[in-house]
Symmetry: C2
Subunit: 186 residues, 2 copies
């Protein structure tokens, strides 16, 4: 069975859990026989956007590049998973229009929780003014108005959030309910 | 039938016919049921490399970005066709190593023929010194040492060159000999 491609777009603050969730969802979709590629902020900034900074213009350019690659993958039957802060609503919506088959996942977590966890120590630096243009601190984050999925990572575990996302993809008929790989083994 | 992905990499001077050949080969492969994406210099400079110039460093960065996207497509079963001057041997070989399933097509045409045709008027400007860093004029072009395919566009028509490329892909067992789409209709 040929599977349809789509783009699964994670947006949310730094440390909210976008890449973790992307990897969990990737594993589940691979086990169901989909082709999957994860494009997270680090991968893209290394391979496609070195030299870009964190001004609005550069962030938008970065997001458009991710969108361009997601579009190429999506129209060739791949599930393209983007996991980047993507703070600006307008460019997210532009990418959505370009791609068509687009599922937005808002990974929501209050900034005080993120600042407390501060896995990479970035919030401490940003709050101390040592890191400029940090989303949520001195740079805006525009939450999605009507995302296809909303997960709340301060209250739910990553596993629960990933399951929510998969359930929504099933609901949208983008992935089949039964794991294809194990079904084929029967 | 699931088709294997590979990267078809056109290299050669500006005006030699890379994009023309890429489009002809694309049409033929689509008719045989392959998924195909053409990434030519203009598409990439617009979507992934805006802001990069024509220094060796920027050219190498541009080629690595094309290679990154070709790799994503190739490993998901797509035929990725790159058509960029890609003047430096070392970075072409780096991309080849990264991707693995890589077919290099050297689109060869003597520079005096290109300067005479001069479809875009660029050679005239470059030779007059009005355009700097122009490959073949004041910037180097390192021809492939052992390309999988060599086409000579000063002596052969685009159709003949495209047929040569397709024949080589058949020889390499990357495309099937019979057009799949029409075979299926029988």
């Amino acid at each position: 069975m040929e599977r349809k491609g789509f783009t699964l777009w994670f947006t949310g603050l730094s440390g909210a859990g976008k890449t973790t969730l992307a990897r969990l969802v990737e594993a589940e979709l691979l086990s169901r026989g989909h082709n999957v590629e994860v494009l997270d902020g680090d991968i893209i900034r290394t391979n496609l956007s070195k030299g870009l900074g964190f001004s609005k213009e550069d962030r938008d350019t970065n997001i458009r590049r991710i969108g361009f690659v997601c579009n190429l993958l999506t129209r060739n039957g791949v599930v393209a998973i983007a996991a980047a802060i993507s703070p600006y609503r307008e460019v997210r919506d532009e990418v959505r229009r370009d791609i068509g088959s687009f599922v937005e996942v808002y990974v929501k977590c209050p900034i005080n929780v993120l600042a407390e966890r501060d896995v990479k120590g970035l919030y401490k630096k940003a709050l101390a003014g040592e890191l400029k243009n940090f989303t949520g601190v001195d740079d805006p984050y525009e939450a999605p108005v009507a995302p296809e999925v909303l997960v709340e990572t301060d209250s739910d575990t990553a596993e629960v959030s990933a399951a929510q996302i998969i359930a929504r993809l099933e609901e949208l008929s983008l992935v089949s309910r039964e794991p294809q790989a194990s079904a084929m083994k029967k």
